[in-house]
């Protein structure tokens, strides 16, 4: 069964279907059902994935544009699989969370949900693409639905934010296009299939230039310091649901791209640039966190926390140890859930009070304890509290990095302290203290909102204590990636007795 095509097909047909439904409420329900079907299908696919089987599974390859050597090639390895799972899990949650978001501005509700499903198809496609060109196509094309979601349904500064988002990403993408073209012509294989391109560029100088072309695009997308300034604007202006997909999934394409393309296609260049990337990541971690502390706008604050978190992910990718790589991949998934929860709950709060500014709140815990409690849990996941899944990934990234780069990982670990400051200070200012007059009559979470938050928190908890199912899938893929970069994990200085001896 062509699983991946089916997933995308269902989403796209769903998107078309939504535009045909006349009634807004029906359209929402329809979208929810479609996204749940996609989720169910993905889960059905995921259980058939054998972690130690072929590297790429569920592969489908057809010629698309033979003139350019372009294929419609999709398949997943462990890394792609978990990211697709992340995407399809978040979509129904976002649909449910955005139930009333599109209604504010008298904009078309159906369009919003239709865009959401289009985006879902593209998110699946971008992670599943095994053809570099196809990846690029999805990479760029997925900007458009997000652009419309931010621009049409966002906050007051929405068009500025949307344009900035689009142009910044487009700029990076175009640089990548040059590199893609150059890769094709240098490889001279007449094909864009990833597996055929691996190892074709031998010259190190060429590798470096091509690497930069790809990397800058991914660094903008991720976003890595200093290419991050579009994110706070975009995330703050986007409706909460779109912000979740933007930060939770779209940005992961950047770090995913680094892991998949920058490392495997240009191993020597990747090694050459590792010090630079690690430095940028570490700066991003600390800087993002410090700037987050100084924010007055909740959504901007969350966006800056993500800048910090993406620093961790990039650092893990480029540390080039199995632990760090697997940790970084897991981080991508966990961060999706964690930031997703934060954005959504902050969105609920903002929706109630109509302000994004922290200073407009205070003492919400008293009037809306469930909202406050879930917000705290989401916040704690952002500061990587053990017991929540984000801890596992951050721990793995830091431990893995420490094995090779001691000083960077130590500096990065200060992010642990800074995270506590930005999260708890925000929590204190919004939720604690005497109840502010303006929030006295704030209602607590309703049933729909609880259904939005519950699965996220459940996932955070379950993977916090039992990340093995994900890691079992991720590990072989990461090992494979690193072996194609031909790096080996540093060994132990002091051998220990193995278990059972």
């Amino acid at each position: 069964m062509p699983w991946l095509s089916t997933l995308m097909g269902v989403s796209v047909l769903g998107a078309l279907g939504v535009t045909l439904v006349r009634n807004d409420k029906l359209a929402k329900q329809f979208t929810l059902v479609v996204s749940l079907i996609v989720l169910a299908l993905t889960v059905a696919m995921a259980v058939q994935f054998s972690p130690n089987g072929d590297k790429f599974q569920f592969a489908e390859t057809y010629d698309w544009i033979p003139a350019f050597g372009v294929h419609y090639g999709v398949a997943v390895d462990g890394i792609a699989l978990v990211l697709i799972l992340l995407s399809v899990i978040l979509v129904p949650i976002v649909v449910l969370a955005s139930w009333h978001d599109a209604e504010k501005g008298k904009r078309s509700v159906r369009t919003y949900f239709s865009l959401l499903l289009v985006l879902e198809a593209m998110m699946i496609g971008v992670f599943a693409a095994t053809d570099v060109f196809l990846f690029y196509v999805f990479f760029e094309a997925m900007l458009i639905p997000m652009y419309f979601m931010i621009g049409s349904y966002g906050g007051a500064q929405r068009s500025y934010a949307a344009v900035k988002f689009l142009l910044y990403s487009l700029f990076g993408g175009l640089l990548m296009l040059v590199a893609v073209i150059a890769l094709y012509s240098i490889a001279g294989k007449g094909t864009f299939m990833f597996s055929d391109l691996v190892g074709t560029v031998q010259d190190v100088t060429t590798q470096k230039w091509l690497f930069l072309g790809f990397f800058i695009a991914f660094a903008i997308k991720a976003p890595l310091w200093p290419f991050h300034t579009w994110l706070p604007d975009a995330a703050a202006q986007a409706p909460a649901g779109a912000a979740v997909l933007l930060v939770g999934v779209l940005d992961k394409v950047g770090t995913y791209g680094m892991l998949r393309f920058c490392l495997e296609l240009f191993p020597d260049a990747a090694k050459f640039f590792t010090p630079l990337v690690i430095t940028l990541s570490v700066i991003g971690i600390v800087y993002g966190a410090i700037v987050a502390i100084g924010q007055t706008d909740m959504k901007r604050l969350i966006a800056y926390t993500s800048v910090s978190h993406f620093g961790f992910i990039a650092m893990g990718v480029f540390a080039m140890t199995t632990d760090a790589g697997a940790g970084a991949t897991l981080y991508m998934v966990n961060h999706g859930f964690s930031t997703g929860a934060l954005f959504l709950i902050a969105g609920f709060l903002i929706h109630r009070r109509g302000s994004q500014f922290i200073s407009d709140y205070g003492g919400v815990q008293k009037v809306a304890p469930i909202l406050a409690g879930t917000f705290l849990v989401a916040g704690l996941s952002s500061l990587s509290l053990p017991g929540l899944s984000t801890f596992v990934s951050e721990f793995m990234v830091l431990t893995g990095t420490y094995q090779r780069y001691v000083v960077p990982s130590v500096i990065a670990a200060t992010g642990v302290i800074l995270a506590a400051i930005y999260i708890l200070w925000m929590y204190q200012r919004t939720m604690n203290g005497p109840t502010a007059e303006s929030v006295k009559s704030l209602p607590d979470l309703n049933a729909r909102e609880k259904w939005v938050v519950a699965p996220l928190i459940a996932l955070l908890l379950v993977f916090g204590f039992y990340p093995k199912p994900l890691l079992d899938v991720i590990h072989p893929a990461v090992k494979d990636t690193l072996s194609s970069v031909s790096v080996t994990d540093p060994g132990a200085a002091v051998p220990v007795a193995k278990e059972g001896q």
């Binding site: 008293k366 130590v410 642990v416 200085a493 051998p495």
Partner: protein, 632 residues
Amino acid sequence: MEPAEFIQHSGGAIGVAWLMIAFPLVGAAILLLGGRRTDRFGHLVGVVMAVASFVVAALAFVQLLGFQPGERRRLIPLYDFIPGMAKVGLLVDPLSISFCLLITFVGSLIHVYSIGYMAHDPNRRRFFAYLNLFVAAMLLLVLADNYVALFVGWEGVGLASYLLIGFWQHKPSAATAAKKAFIVNRVGDFGLLIGIFTIFATFHSLAFAQVFPAAHGASQGTLTAIGLLLLVGACGKSAQLPLQSWLLDAMEGPTPVSALIHAATMVTAGVYLIVRSGAVFQGAETAQLVVTIVGVATLLAGAIIGTAKDDIKKALAGSTMSQIGYMVLAAGIGPAGYAFAIAHLITHGFFKADLFLGAGSVMHGMNDEVDMRKYGGLRKVMPITFVTFLIGYLAIIGFPLLSGYFTKDGIIETAMEHNAVLGWLAVIGAGVTGFYMSRLVFMTFFGAKRWEATAHPHESPAVMTWPLIILSLGAIGLGAFLIVGNRFMTFLAPAVGAPEELPTFNPFSLTGLVTLALVAAGAAFAWFRYGAAEVPAVAPRGSFLTTFARRDLYGDALNEALFMRPGQWLTRLAVFFDNRGVDGLVNGLAAGIGGSSGRLRRIQTGFVRSYALSIFVGAALLAGAWLVVGNL
């Protein structure tokens, strides 16, 4: 005597040791997820879960005693937590079981006590949920068989502590204190994390059973680094210098919390960590030296702070700092000190919980007044509280034959043998303890009544006094039970090792006598100042030293000047830089292109002749370029 081998275990109460964690965890889950529906019986669920946990701990203890001493380190594997990095399991050995008993027993008592103490709080259910959560996390911390799981518990107790300090979150001071506790603890955790990284990088394992036997193989430098980093973690959690500042603020939490978390159990986790990682510290003398210095410095600092506080809970908090300083000091000495450190930890758990709960009982009767200057003469109206408090007091100052006498004296003696300077400083600390604890008792229970007009002090209900009574029994007898005949040292030996030559208890050693004399002098001085003399309702200005102590040795001021203000300044700078610098560059580039577009379009004048000119000039340029290229 070297520690025993690790043995895989299954079956019996030890085999289901995870139930100890599971019970309170389930309790917390029921209470949190159940919401208001569980309001009516929530506190009972909490108590039952804590007691159930105690029962499992007790049964496990009994089972453990059934093994030969050399076979008392039992590993119970649970599951693969982080594949390739950490398999999670439990380690039941004399050390962990001691903690389990302390935590579950004192914890259960405090649960019971809280039923009364929190009776009128609308959020009592939530309080019990957090207490249960704490117990579960604390048990995970001590039962974990590897550093990751330990860290999970470590942070878990931090979370519970955060939630409980800020339980009355509507008070800004409570919310701020909670946040401060968490953040300062995070600084410690940062050190602990790096320590764990180093362990993993060195051994490629985080399991105690693999790391400890191999520890001697690592280089001195590595072990020192690990030791110091673990110490940073311990300092955070155990409020040792320089990460002590949060503990005093933490008294914003309800008093049972102060008793359980910030006196009896959580704050001693640092001591646990150091003792548990003995294999690492014993290979790193420098690290051990630093540990002892930190311990001594903190025991003195805590004692000094305790002398100046009028807030009964803060005075006790200073005392807690000081007592943990003793434990850390002992833990830094090595196997000779481990047993005393843990023994003092246990007895301290009893008498300090007793004192805190007693203080809570007083506050309960005094409309939550905490200022001792508004107490006085309470012994008559609160007889049970008074008696139990008095026992706790005598225990802590080291009154002969009570618990503290044995355990603290053990520490001082060992320290004296290890390093005379440290030993004498510890003795001085004991003297100061005698003063500030006496001051506290005299101001509270003796002298004239200085109550507010609205106060109607009364004895607390039985649900609160019974825990006091039980705890005070522990405060009386536990020390002798553990120390006499080196019972505890022998018991712990399989877990932490013991010196080849067991110490002999000498009640008439020089050190012991001097200590007693100093304590007596301190108590007497306190009597003259606060027992016999009138206590002014408002604290006198006092000397520079008094202010120094009142202001927590300027710890907060130092933090503020060194970290907070520069931090705020840095934050503002970073935000400004981000908006104007990084983003400014991006926007500036865009504006630059837009601006040049605006200027360049003026070239398009609209006059056809100027267009013709551009064609003419263009043609000339084209021809010129062609010629230049052609003739190259």
